[in-house]
């Protein structure tokens, strides 16, 4: 029964408490073989504790953690078929690169022949594109290179699950983007399950095929990146994953019209699942679009004054003081606005239309 | 199991404190421990006494407020310095030393700061030769009486008819034996070194002091106490190195070990022998019939004394029989001055450890100046200790 489980990792009603503080509360989670799961949330949400319970550095207070269908409660870290890439890498400073990578292989019993160890170390280093660095001391290497050593060290034992604890946090932005692609490629090549812990929603969305958003020790939403972004389960998820503009309003009985404080009615499309009454409306910055002269979008048009313009290169962010609603953040593609003079400038009066699909309505009864 | 002597009881906290206080006061060892451990400068500074009584005898000259003396541990009645301060207003800082060699080393290095010190007989000619002490102006020491001094003990203070040092007290170097542990009767240094290897195996102590340790070994072999002849020293060295593995310790701080009965037998000076015997009657004091040392400690004033006037004043004070008698009762060493003997209680003068019969003194010799500076003896001692 147990070994027939298709899931690599399973949490069954797992709770972890440190004295009076409960870090993880009644988590149920299944990670299918070969998937790339991101545990996403702000610091203190319990994501790292979950990862450490998989790694064996923490034991659940209640519930069970299973790896490959086997219960892992009480099994020490060194007997688990998982390996971890630690935050800040935790490379052994007294070993060179090859020795770091070979460390796991040397722990194997029965012993592996030295020739085999050398071959597999070279293979792992090639995989993270560090051929030729075998004899280097780790502290002589750049952050990106150290990151690769940590990766090589973790995959050389061929774990069934690779755990990554904020692996890219210490890298600069450019390197981070490159590593995101590399990690994805690596995961596809190895075909093993990756579990990534991150507080960076962009990282989670870009790499993982399953995103688990956590807050205060609980799972708020589990889904694909698109699901989490486009259909956030609650205001917290909407707010944490991507940017939002937040409005208080009332959803009318038709479950499609929201009425703002100043009486303006906006049609946001049918929301059958949201009870009529007080709601919080979350509007993605890209949901608002500048209207050209003469353009109109009936019932979905607002007007305002540009207060700030932030040039991002590929796009532009505007802060717009929308009449009756206050400050809104709006992102616009540069699109046809290649010339600087065609961009709106602070002080300009503008008209905007919003896309109902990118407007999320949550009952104000929901905790956020 | 037999009931142990009180001294055998494990040391109590208060007893340890007492020992430490003794250590601090510098009374634990005479010639070794404090000097070697660096506590040699443990000092008892008597605080100033404003408005002190000014006796007319001291009023003639400005004595200042402070002086320092170099002497041996447990060698003075502490009241002496308090009384002197009360009489003159001069506070006395007491520096105690472990050996004559050490005293010489300090004064040779310069700026000792002493205005009075207490060298032993055989060192005085060397101090004089090196110009480290000056001839005493006896007119400033009216309390000294040449007539009442025993010349046997005062001769070495005079060089070429000039007086460089005045005697404090004399004494002997014999050995103390715990007779409840060692049953064989002992009379000679030959006995001492034999028993040290047999009945007292692991329980005997010799001084960490070239004069007495080498001297007694020489005597036990029938040689002169002060010999510096290479062949005789070689024989003495052979004996000492043969005995060494059997010794409890090479240490001039023997009172604690004798009292705890860790050691059963030790080379010993008169005053320590008297103290041990007084507290533990089973510890006998023996003078070797084959020889040994007799000695006198003197007062002398360094040439570079910073407060000569006070040095003379204290010396004169100490030469007053009324003051000196308290010193002798306190330190247990025999006096050289018949005026003081007359004042001592009968139980002191009749104590055969302090005042042995003349016959017992006959074989004893004074230490010779040459032993102080002879490199051969110093090297022998070093080889013995490091063997």
């Amino acid at each position: 029964m147990a070994s027939a489980s298709p899931d690599d990792i399973e949490f069954r009603s797992v709770t972890k408490a440190y004295g009076a503080v409960t870090a993880v509360r009644d988590i149920n989670l299944a990670v299918p073989k070969g998937s790339f799961l991101a545990l996403l949330g702000p610091s203190g949400c319990g994501k790292t504790t979950c990862l450490r319970m998989i790694g064996g550095f923490e034991q659940p207070s209640e519930g069970k953690v299973l790896i490959d269908g086997r219960e892992m409660n009480g099994v020490p870290a060194y007997r688990r078929p998982v390996n971890m890439v630690f935050q800040h890498y935790a490379l052994f400073p007294h070993f060179n690169v090859a020795e770091n990578v070979a460390y796991g292989l040397k722990q194997m019993r029965p012993r592996i022949a030295q020739g085999e160890i050398d071959r597999r170390v070279a293979e792992a280093l090639a995989m993270v594109r560090l051929d030729g660095f075998a004899k280097r001391r780790t502290h002589e290497m750049s952050g990106g290179q150290q990151q690769r050593v940590a990766l090589a060290r973790a995959i050389v034992n061929r774990p069934s699950v690779l755990l990554l604890d904020e692996p890219l946090a210490a890298l600069d932005k450019k390197l981070r983007s490159a590593m995101q692609i590399e990690l994805q490629t690596l995961q596809r090549e190895l075909g093993i399950t990756f579990v990534l812990v991150t507080h960076d929603q962009e990282e989670a969305l870009s790499m993982a095929d399953q995103v688990c958003v956590m807050s205060a020790g609980r799972i708020r939403q589990l889904g694909t990146p698109q699901e989490v972004y486009d259909r956030p389960a609650d205001l917290f998820v909407a707010d944490f994953v991507g940017k939002i503009n937040r409005l208080s309003a009332v959803l009318e009985a038709d479950h499609a019209t929201i009425r703002l404080a100043d009486g303006t009615a906006l049609n946001v499309g049918a929301r059958p699942n949201v009870p009529a009454g007080a709601v919080t409306v979350a509007v993605r910055p890209e949901a608002l679009r500048f209207l050209g002269a003469g353009e109109d979008a009936a019932g979905r048009t607002v007007s305002g004054t540009v207060t700030h313009r932030i040039f991002l290169g590929s796009g532009v962010e505007y802060a717009v003081d929308i009449d009756g609603l206050g400050d809104f953040l709006i992102t616009a593609d540069r699109g046809g606005h290649a010339a600087e003079e065609s961009l709106s400038a602070p002080g300009d009066r503008v008209r905007l239309a919003f896309d109902p699909a990118a407007v999320h309505v949550f009952s104000s009864m929901d905790p956020a | 199991m037999t009931r142990k002597h009180l001294e055998n009881a494990p040391i109590t906290a208060s007893a340890l404190t007492d020992e430490f206080m003794r250590l601090k006061k510098g009374s634990v060892t005479r010639r070794h421990f404090l000097g070697v451990t660096g506590l040699g400068l443990a000092a008892a500074v008597m605080t100033r006494f404003p408005g002190a009584f000014n006796a007319s005898a001291y009023a003639a000259e400005d004595l200042g407020t402070q002086m320092s003396i170099a002497t041996w541990p447990n060698y003075h009645d502490p009241a002496t310095f308090e009384n002197f301060k009360a009489a003159t207003g001069v506070a006395v800082e007491v520096n105690v030393f472990g050996s004559n060699e050490e005293m010489l080393a300090k004064i040779q290095a310069g700026a000792s700061g002493w205005s009075l010190f207490v060298p032993t007989n055989y060192t005085i000619s060397t101090y004089q030769k090196l110009g480290l002490i000056e001839e005493l102006d006896l007119s400033k020491i009216p309390n000294f009486s040449q007539a009442s001094e025993n010349p046997r003990f005062t001769d070495q203070g005079k060089i070429d008819g000039k007086t460089y040092a005045l005697p404090k007290n004399w004494g002997t170097t014999g050995f103390s034996v715990n007779t409840s542990k060692i049953k064989t009767p002992m009379k000679t240094w030959k006995d001492f070194f034999e028993i040290a290897q047999t009945e007292a195996d692991g329980r005997a102590m010799v001084h960490d002091y070239q004069l007495t340790t080498i001297g007694s070994a020489l005597v036990s072999l029938g040689y002169d106490f002060n010999s510096i002849k290479a062949d005789e020293l070689a024989k003495a060295e052979e004996l000492l190195i043969k005995v060494k593995p059997h010794l409890f310790a090479i240490n001039s701080d023997y009172q604690p070990s004798m009292r705890s009965t860790d050691a059963w037998m030790t080379m010993c000076w008169t005053n320590d022998g008297a103290q041990l015997n007084r507290d533990m009657p089973e510890i006998a004091y023996v003078l070797g019939t084959d020889g040994g040392e007799i000695w006198t400690d003197y007062y002398a004033i360094p040439k570079d004394a910073p407060n000569k006037a006070a040095g003379y004043a204290l010396l004169n004070y100490l030469m007053d029989p009324a003051n000196a008698v308290k010193e002798h009762i306190a330190n247990g060493a025999p006096t050289t001055d018949s005026r003081v003997i007359a004042l001592l209680p009968a139980e002191v003068t009749s104590n055969k450890i302090v005042y042995p019969d003349e016959a017992a003194l006959t074989p004893l010799e004074f230490g010779a100046a040459v032993t102080l500076t002879d490199p051969g003896r110093a090297e022998l001692m070093a080889r013995f200790k490091s063997a």
Partner: protein
């Protein structure tokens, strides 16, 4: 302006290191020069120093060979004995002790330093003497045990006296050891014992080497403990120096021995640093 800045910088540097530099020059460098000069001189007939230029003193070093051998044997043996006892203590303090009690426990290690080593060694004289442990053994029917004035007593005194100096540097290096390295080791399949010998021990080597060097160097100059607990029968270079300067007043020979001792210390330090480099890489070597 720039020049002024430079001058200011120099003045600040001078103010910071000047006092220490002057102190060291007057009380370390000058005496050492004097010592080297004396080492080539002769002993005056009544003791002290007589100017000369001779290698006589160095040629005579052999006469203190026993003291050198004793010292060079005991210093490393004592340091190793300290290490064997200190490491588990330091490990417990740094890794196992609960953080709440750690400060208290660490200060307990340091507390003995509040009392002078002399007094504590003196206390050992009583504990090991006939009125101490042997007396308790006597009550149990074990008679005539002698502990004081044996080489064992000297070793005990040395381990007792120098243990804190060994514990502290090892504790510090274990305490700053990154716990994630231990987790990483376990994660890679290493059993706790393998982690201890493969990661913990090598990474605490700088502390171990510091402790060994510190204790060894201090032991090379030790004379108090052998004097008090060895009954003067155990003779070290320190004892030889005391005798030469305070008893036989042979300053030139004493100087020659002292200079030789300094050279030995420097060699010991260099070897220790070399070993520390080899094991721990070049980064973390912070001897003494």
């Amino acid at each position: 302006m720039a020049l002024q800045q430079e001058t200011r910088k120099k003045l600040v540097t001078l103010a910071l290191v000047g006092p220490a530099g002057l102190w060291l020059f007057v009380f370390l460098v000058l005496p050492f020069i004097a010592m080297v000069v004396f080492a080539f001189g002769k002993r005056a007939p009544e003791g002290g120093y007589q100017p000369a230029f001779t290698f006589e003193q160095f040629a005579n070093l052999g006469s203190r060979a026993a003291a050198f051998v004793n010292t060079l044997m005991l210093a490393p043996v004592g340091a190793l004995a300290c290490l064997l006892i200190a490491y588990p203590v330091a490990y417990y303090l740094a890794v196992k002790a609960s953080p709440r009690h750690r400060l208290l426990l660490v200060s307990l290690v340091v507390v003995p330093f509040w009392t002078s080593l002399l007094v504590r060694t003196y206390a050992w004289m009583y504990l090991l003497g006939a009125r101490g442990i042997p007396h308790l053994l006597e009550l149990l029917g074990i008679e005539n045990v002698r502990l004081i004035n044996t080489p064992g007593a000297v070793l005990l005194g040395i381990v007792y006296g120098y243990l804190p100096l060994m514990i502290m540097p090892i504790y510090v290096s274990l305490e700053k050891l990154d716990r994630r390295l231990l987790e990483a080791s376990a994660d890679l399949g290493a059993k706790p014992v393998s982690t201890f010998f493969g990661i913990t021990v090598p990474l605490s080597l700088p502390g171990v080497m510091t402790g060994l060097a510190l204790v060894t160097i201090l032991l090379l100059g030790e004379y108090l403990i052998p004097q008090l607990l060895g009954g003067g029968k155990v003779f070290f270079i320190g004892n030889a120096l005391v005798d030469l300067f305070l008893q036989s007043r042979n300053w030139p020979f004493g100087s020659a021995i002292a200079v030789t001792l300094v050279v030995v210390v420097v060699i010991v330090l260099m070897i220790a640093m070399r070993i520390a480099w080899r094991f721990a890489g070049t980064r973390q070597v912070d001897l003494v």
